[in-house]
Amino acid sequence: MYPKDFEYHSPEGIEEALNILEKNGSEAKIMGGGQSLIPMMKLRIVAPKHIVDINKISSLDFIKDEGKRIVIGTLTRMADVEKYEALRKKVRIIPECAEQIADPLVRNMGTFGGNIAHGDPNNDMPAAVLVTGARIVCRSKSGAREIEARNFFVDTFTTALKENEILESVVIPVSRGYKGTYIKMERIAGDYGIAGVAVWFSSDGERFRDCRIALTGVGPTVIYAEKACNYLNDQRITREAIKRASEVASQESKPSDDLRGSESFKRKVVSLLVRRAFEVSLKEVGSEP
């Protein structure tokens, strides 16, 4: 299968890339690892006239540990995110999510920024960055702006990123005392999840404090389960509270029937995964409900 013909640009700096975007508007598409874009181009779901390949812009491939925050450049391969020690220690949900994306061959090429900028509701990383309270740095010729991850995902394949902008990096705050994980249920290895769940929370040992829950693959975009979070904040850490929250999160999801399951099945999976994510995380801190 061949993509439709296109004009290929391979800028060596971000300024050059931004100029190409500015000039070609909606006809230009940025290519990072291409692990989502190339399959879509081969199936002719999309046929951009201009491909702006950013792989030569090595200044976009970095992870910087700045103590209270970790900044990840858009071009960082998922395989590198997975293995980065400081992330494991400080914001483990990010590498734990990374290692569940697709398969090792895809993660060697696929990029951190691409998984987020693509706006696919089935992509895993959006839920993980969302619960950590990350900020997305978008750059255009007129400068950079930061968008809260919660406001970044607009609709299916639609984000707050403008035509003339590049998702440059993601700023992940290091929040002391927060625990959590990302888990998904797959039909087969390497597939998108039937559903995925990210939980990230603080507690004082007896009660939940700040709880954040996000859901993958069960709506037009990643879903922040706000009602479930509100319910859980300041609740005592008990099995009943977690169960109730998982039911609320399941009600907040908006799955549709497809080859990965029926709507009602996916709601059950959401509720199961929320429970499991909390139980796994609490076990590790020794405050088992």
Binding site: Y2, F6, G34, Q35, N55, V106, M109
Partner: protein, 159 residues
């Protein structure tokens, strides 16, 4: 509009003028006539097209040839340049293949694993090969082959 692309494949510099939409796997198979790299699914699912790109195993059906500009590619032919590679010997010995279609990809993924982790556990092998599908073996003999290959490589000290 065609563009010039040059890269190093199995240690030799190659240069061609191609359409930017040409996929790396087609570049390798049609332009270079290296047909050991297979097209299985053509939809990024099966891993039969795996090659090493600067030492990392990737799906060559999901990369444009122009993206390999200036990079080093190793295909299954490259691994067996100095005679059969220990991983290949291990796959023969332990019957890690039946029809053989997925085998080049399996060996490329195994190679990346064994170069960074010379003595992997079964769990690590399973994870490393999770991007490669086999419809014949049921994977058991493939896992045995990789375990055996790790032993061969440690004793032969070959990379």
């Amino acid at each position: 509009m065609k563009v010039k692309v040059s890269m190093v494949v199995n240690g030799e510099k190659v240069e061609r003028v191609v359409q930017p939409r040409m996929l790396l796997v087609d570049f390798i198979r049609r332009e270079l006539r290296l047909t050991g790299t297979h097209v299985g699914c053509d939809t990024s699912s099966c891993g039969a097209c795996a090659v090493l790109l600067n030492g990392r195993a990737v799906k060559s059906c999901t990369i444009l040839a122009v993206q390999a500009e200036g990079k080093e590619i190793v295909t299954i032919e490259g691994l067996s340049k100095g005679g059969m590679h220990p991983i290949q010997k291990a796959f023969v010995e332990k019957q890690g293949l039946q029809c053989g279609y997925c085998t080049p990809g399996m060996i490329i993924s195994s190679y990346q694993l064994l170069s960074s982790n010379p003595n992997p556990s079964e769990e690590e092998i399973r994870k490393a090969l999770s991007g490669n599908l086999c419809r014949c073996t049921g994977y058991k003999t493939i896992i045995d082959s990789v375990k055996y290959a790790s032993k061969l490589m440690r004793t032969e000290k070959r990379k």
